[in-house]
């Protein structure tokens, strides 16, 4: 693990501490050991991450907009007296590398319109879709592309 | 009647429910749940009565006792659950032997 990414994580944890304590300088008596402990355990639990930070800035607005639409979509279906749903279970072959990117994809999918990840197997994501008539496949592919860029990898081709 | 009295009355309901279930149910897990509900009722009674200070801050002594109590309750629950598992591993049944059945 590179020194730079340890430094970045240290800054992130210090930022969280600063937020929690409202920037109280006296709190660092506890804050410094706490941040150090959190950092050590974090490095032990998550040895490497290769998030591309500037891609993150592109991903966030995309995700916020799509998850807002996800909420609106499901709220509409729930309140509509006819309850327009046609659920189905669907296996999506993952082209992302295993590990963090696949888990990130699984978690993202659950907050996007009409999709809920129900099982993560080796290179396959079981997705429960609320409306099997919609274009969820295109959506999943788009998300996968973006997650790949976020982690600085490319998708496998079959 | 005040808000404090309202919650105190709710706590009486919880204590009664817990006591009834504790005696009536044979399954030990249910008895443990019943004791926990009773305990919550007693904590609620203490904190509700501590709130009768008008506009001033409530009495902190019962609050401190209840915090202590919550932590003791969870450790007692863990011990009780282990005892229950031990008993059912020995007898194959998580219920106390009933004299009427013998």
């Amino acid at each position: 693990m590179s020194g730079l990414s340890i430094l970045l994580r240290g800054i992130l944890f210090s930022l969280i501490w600063w937020l929690l304590t409202d920037g109280d300088t006296a709190s660092w008596w506890i804050g410094v050991p706490a941040v150090a402990l959190a950092l050590i355990i974090n490095i032990a639990l998550l040895p490497s991450s290769n998030l591309v930070w500037h891609e993150f800035l592109i991903f966030v607005p995309f995700f916020l907009l799509r998850s807002l639409l996800g909420g609106v979509d499901v709220a509409r279906r729930a309140i509509d007296p006819r309850m327009p749903i046609a659920p189905a279970l669907f296996e999506y072959p993952l082209r992302l590398p295993a590990g963090m990117p696949q888990v990130f994809m699984a978690n993202t999918v659950s907050l996007l319109p009409g999709t809920l990840s129900a099982e993560l197997c080796t290179n396959c994501l079981k997705v429960h879709v609320l409306d099997s008539r919609g274009g969820f496949l295109a959506e999943l592919e788009a998300v996968e592309q973006r997650v790949a860029r976020l982690f600085g990898t490319s998708l496998k081709t079959f | 009647m005040s808000i404090a009295h309202l919650y105190a009355l709710v706590s009486v309901g919880l204590i009664s429910l817990g006591l009834y279930a504790l005696i009536v149910h044979a399954h030990l897990l249910r008895k443990i749940l019943a004791i926990n509900v009773m305990g919550s009722g007693i904590f609620l009674l203490l904190v509700a009565l501590a709130q009768r200070t008008g506009t001033a801050l409530p009495d902190p002594v019962p609050h401190a006792m209840v915090i202590t109590g919550i932590v003791v309750a969870v450790s007692a629950t863990a011990l009780a659950l282990t005892l229950m598992l031990k008993l059912s591993a020995q007898t194959g049944c998580a219920e106390l032997p009933d004299k009427e059945d013998e």
Binding site: I30, V103 | Y7, T53, S75, T82, E95
Partner: protein, 321 residues
């Protein structure tokens, strides 16, 4: 006046919700459902504490009553099911209720009488009773902290907390000495999503625990809440299969378990010798001493609660591996 009305409606609803959940939890035939209802009951209790201006209690309840107790009950139920599947198919459900027996009739008469009596006593209490709140307020200055609940827990009634830490330790000793329960099935690997969640959350939980410890001096929080958050981190790590198998018996864990009570005892003895009173903290050092007591208590509480969750599985690990 209108806000008063709204408050009354809210409190009445909360009270009815508590009673309803408690009733369903104790009456529904499925034990799994009963545990889920108990967790929901714990969450509503946390809301009730907030309504009763007891945020310190609310924090403890949210972490322990709604979280840790539920996890303990779920694990116990799963082990019970694996015991009972060997026997009959009763599994997690109880035997058929055998109708209402004579004793129960008696209970149905006596219990309402007790409840009415208790209710009558409660309603006859005066609406105003400051209790010890004025005493605490006048001595708060000398306690070393400005959160009255922390002052009571670690200074004014420190001996309560000392005994409580020893009770925790005794409970763990009880669980340990009862030893194994059932052989664990071959551990299936934890789901990857849970594992990732744990790996991301544990450092944040550590920071949160430290924050609760710090903030307890002047606002809701403290060693108990912080300890429960640490225990939650421990439970998550245990869930993803990070068992401290050999380490459980090892010295470090045992040292952490006794660190809290031991520190308390040392300070108790020292104050006994110097101040001639058990746990009478000298005002000029009280703040620092409380921080020391709270830090060690937090570590011990967190380790003990997590060890309680791991429970008596220690022996089975030995026997089957």
């Amino acid at each position: 006046m209108e806000t008063m009305m709204v408050a009354w409606m809210l409190d009445s609803l909360l009270g009815l919700g508590l009673l309803w959940l408690a009733w369903r939890c104790l009456a529904c035939p499925n034990l799994f459902k009963a545990i889920v209802l108990f967790v929901a009951f714990g969450l509503l209790m946390a809301l009730a504490w907030v309504r009763l201006e007891a945020p310190d209690v609310a924090l403890a309840e949210a972490a322990i009553g709604a979280g840790l107790t539920g996890a303990l009950l779920m694990v116990a139920l799963a082990q019970l099911q694996s015991i009972e599947t060997n026997g009959d198919a009763a599994g997690a459900t109880e035997k058929e209720e055998r109708g209402i027996r004579p004793l129960q009739w008696l209970l149905l008469i006596v219990l309402p009488l007790i409840a009415t009596g208790l209710g009558y006593i409660i309603l006859s209490f005066p609406p105003d009773a400051p209790g010890l709140s004025t005493a605490v307020a006048t001595h708060l200055e000398a306690s070393g902290v400005s959160n009255p609940v922390t002052a009571v827990l670690l200074n004014f009634r420190g001996y309560d907390t000392l005994l409580e830490l020893i009770v925790l330790l005794l409970a763990l000793l009880g669980v340990w000495s009862l030893g194994g329960t059932v052989p664990q099935q071959a551990a299936t690997p934890a789901p990857l999503v849970l594992e990732t969640l744990t790996r991301l959350l544990v450092p944040v939980l550590i920071l949160t625990a430290a924050y609760l410890l710090w903030v307890g001096a002047h606002a809701p929080g403290g060693a108990f809440q912080a300890g429960s958050v640490l225990a939650a981190a421990g439970v998550l790590l245990l869930l993803i299969g990070r068992h401290p198998r050999a380490a459980l018996m090892a010295l470090p864990l045992r040292l952490i378990l006794v660190l809290g009570p031991a520190t308390f005892l040392v300070i108790a003895v020292v104050t006994m010798l110097i101040e001639d009173a058990l746990l009478k903290l000298p005002p000029e050092h009280a703040g620092k001493l409380i921080l020391l007591l709270e830090t060690t208590a937090m570590l011990s509480i967190g380790a003990t609660l997590a060890a309680l969750f791991l429970g008596g599985r220690r022996h089975t690990d030995k026997e089957h591996s």
